[in-house]
């Protein structure tokens, strides 16, 4: 029976009282907009701002059958997987080197981490300038060596890999720092035992370090995938989805449906579909990568 005199009840009430500001904040700024968006996804036209009519699941059916949506989803998957995989591999390599006794270790780490804290607007401006096919420094260097310059962000074949490379450059510092901390947390006794057993450094890395980094890898992979499946700033600022839709990521497609085409109901439905896709991919990551995770 509930009683204010009951110690547990009083404790629970205090806890809820303390949590109330956070609950109110999340309810107002997160859950309420999600509910409104779900409501809007069942309307055709411009619910919330203008003319709209109830359309049931029409927006969802259209999204599933729309060739442009399938293409945007595929490009987004390539971008997210490519960015995540490259970031983790490069970050792990750098961390393996920088976790050891390297001269100017802290300064090198700081330099590699620096792009992560820069706004993507600045990153985009800088890289667009460096990669400009006619005035960019990269092509000037290629010309110096007698090589042909490339329109890096302007040809359908190179635009997406270039965008992935820029995003990896920006993100790798964060993943590297997390890996460095994780590597430094591996007990030295394990390496000493392996050394006594005659293991080489390469064997120790693959048999001790890598397996023990599995929780870190899972964390970074999940966070990176979720982040890049929703990425808008990279395609919006670097290429606007072009050339020829080669970098039209799903988020940009949703953004344009809502703010360019003023098709807000359809954009809301697309957002919910993306939510389901992200949920499914995260589940798969936990299912497969999680098997190899040991927290021991």
């Amino acid at each position: 029976m509930l009683s204010l005199n009951n110690w547990r009840t009083r404790q629970a009430l205090i806890a809820y009282g303390l949590l109330l500001p956070a609950i109110a904040y999340f309810a107002t700024y997160f859950f309420y907009p999600i509910v409104v968006e779900l409501w809007a996804s069942f309307y055709r036209g411009a619910p919330l701002i203008g003319e709209a009519r109830f359309a049931g699941f029409d927006n969802y059916v259209q999204a599933i059958t729309d060739e442009r949506v399938r293409r945007a989803l595929w490009i987004t998957l390539v971008y997210a997987v490519g960015t995540t995989a490259c970031t983790l591999v490069v970050a792990l390599g750098l961390a393996a080197i920088l976790a050891g006794p390297v001269r100017a270790n802290n300064m090198i780490r700081a330099i590699i981490f620096f792009p992560y804290i820069i706004s993507f607007v600045i990153v985009a401006l800088m890289w667009k300038s460096l990669l400009d096919p006619y005035t960019g420094i990269l092509n000037s260097i290629l010309f110096m060596f007698g090589l042909e310059g490339q329109n890096w962000l302007g040809t359908p074949q190179t635009a997406l890999p270039t965008m992935i490379a820029i995003t990896v450059w920006k993100d790798v510092g964060y993943a590297m720092l997390i890996y460095v901390a994780a590597i430094q947390g591996v007990p030295q006794t394990l390496y000493e035992a392996a050394s006594l057993d005659g293991a080489t450094r390469r064997q120790a890395f693959f048999s001790i370090t890598l397996p023990l980094l599995a929780p870190t890898t899972l964390f970074l992979a999940v966070i990176s995938m979720i982040s890049h499946l929703q990425d808008l700033s990279a395609p919006y600022l670097l290429t606007n989805g072009g050339p020829a839709n080669a970098t039209r990521l799903f988020s940009l497609h949703v953004y344009e449906a809502a703010f360019v085409e003023l098709n807000i109901g359809y954009a809301s439905a697309l957002s919910f579909l993306m939510f389901i896709v992200i949920l499914a991919i995260t589940f798969i990551q936990f299912r497969f990568l999680g098997r190899k995770v040991s927290y021991a």
Binding site: A46, L48, I49, G50, E51, R68, K128, D132, P133, Y134, T135, N151, L153, G154, T155, P156, A159, Y236, L238, T239, N240, G242, P243, A244, N245, A246, Y255, E256, A258, F259, V260, E261, L262, N263
Partner: protein, 410 residues
């Protein structure tokens, strides 16, 4: 106690007095590229004439302004006055998001010369169902801009008049690191070629896009061939802005571009020594180009529509038009502006002004369907497919027209 009450009364009076003279703010959204001294002077004068009022002049690039405006509409927190790049007036008016200006025009129209002193099509493009929803601020057209020295160096004393002349000059002026022509990634810049070839974009009777014609394909294919076959033009630099060709031209890396008055200031300031000139639009079967320009609109949820209308009138006053245009090379919608001695004497304004009679507002009828944004997004994909992927224009435009007409029929 008495002292406390006195103090409280004084504080209350100050508070009351303070609220009576409380500052009011008029919020105005503006394009970042048009924040000129002439308009700042108008704002200063407005504030001086209306003590206690402050104009919050917020500047954006067009795509960012649109995103902000739509979010503002959703929450009912709109600016009092907003500029727009063409098309938004009809689109938003159809959604009931804009204030009809009929009452204001009936009251002040004669004194300000509206609509009589405005070029006719600049009035029509701001009307929906016979009501005024916007007033044209700038009226522009795009035409050929060329580097005089590069053409002379290649043996051409005059700019091209026909497509064949244009092609010859583009090829002749192309050198390593330099292109005869720099195309734009924005689809609207391909319209002049299609209209010069004799194409029509939209049939208002049938409510269908008719860009699957051989004429439209010819226009688009001409530019694709210039890029891929003649190698006289680069692939356009991708992005949301349309400044790429201007930057190449200003840097002396492109001999010719298609642009309008909006690029005059960047070219002049970017390279004051550049010897450049403006030519009439080219002719294939017809001489044609696209018309554009900025309008102003008052959102239905504006808190101060009367003051917004007052400021709007000041922005489009003839003396403001002249001050803004002479300093920045922008063309304006007033007939009296076009006839003024200052404009007649200015070679830049005069050259762009001469294109206005044959410039076309291509999407005016399409906008009235309320689906122009979707149809134009499809066109962007189609143009990209031809320009970047080098697919045959006829095939791509046929596919585009089918998709666009399906969207229009929904």
């Amino acid at each position: 106690m008495r002292g406390f009450l006195k103090g409280f009364a004084v504080a209350a009076m100050i508070g009351a007095g303070g609220s009576a003279a409380q500052a009011e703010t008029l919020t105005v959204y503006w394009n970042a590229g048009h924040a000129w001294d002439a308009y700042q002077a108008v704002i200063d004068k407005f504030e001086a004439d209306n003590p206690g009022w402050t104009v919050q002049w917020e500047k954006f690039q067009w795509p960012d302004m649109r995103t902000k405006l739509i979010a503002d509409f959703a929450v009912g927190n709109t600016p009092d006055l907003s500029a727009e790049p063409g098309g938004w007036v009809q689109e938003f008016a159809q959604q009931g998001l804009l204030k009809p200006l009929d009452e204001y025009v009936a009251r002040d129209g004669e004194a300000m010369g509206y609509p009589g002193d405005w070029q006719d099509f600049s009035v029509n493009r701001n009307m929906v169902d016979g009501s005024y929803y916007g007033v044209q601020l700038h009226l522009t057209c795009a035409t050929l801009v060329y580097n005089v020295d590069m053409l002379k160096e290649a043996g051409f004393d005059a700019p091209p008049k026909t497509w064949e002349e244009f092609r010859q000059i583009a090829i002749a002026t192309t050198k390593p690191g330099r292109f005869g022509f720099a195309p734009n990634p924005v689809p609207a810049y391909y319209w002049p070629w299609m209209f010069q070839a004799g194409a029509t974009y939209f049939d208002p009777e049938a409510k269908q896009v008719v860009f699957d014609s051989p004429e439209a394909a010819k226009g688009l294919q001409f530019i694709a061939d210039l890029i891929h076959k003649d190698k006289a033009a680069p692939l356009p630099v991708t992005g949301a802005d349309y400044e790429g060709p201007q930057k190449l031209f200003t840097a002396g890396r492109a001999a010719m571009i298609i642009t309008g008055p909006w690029d005059v200031t960047p070219i002049r300031t970017g390279n004051p020594n550049l010897n450049w000139a403006i030519a009439p639009s080219l002719t294939d079967t017809a001489q044609a180009t696209l018309a554009g320009g900025v309008s102003m609109m008052i959102p239905a949820a504006a808190r101060h529509p009367d003051q917004a209308w007052d400021l709007l009138q000041r922005f489009v006053a003839l003396e403001t038009e002249l001050a803004a245009s002479v300093a920045n090379g922008m063309t304006m919608p007033r007939k009296s502006w076009a006839a003024s001695p200052e404009v007649q004497a200015d070679p830049t304004l005069n050259s762009f002004g001469q294109c206005l009679p044959y410039a076309r507002d291509i999407t005016a009828d399409l906008r009235l369907t309320g689906k122009s944004a979707r149809v134009e997004e499809l066109l962007k994909s189609a143009v990209d497919d031809v320009v970047y992927n080098n697919r045959p224009a006829a095939e791509v435009l046929a596919q585009y027209a089918a998709e666009a007409n399906k969207a229009l029929a929904e």
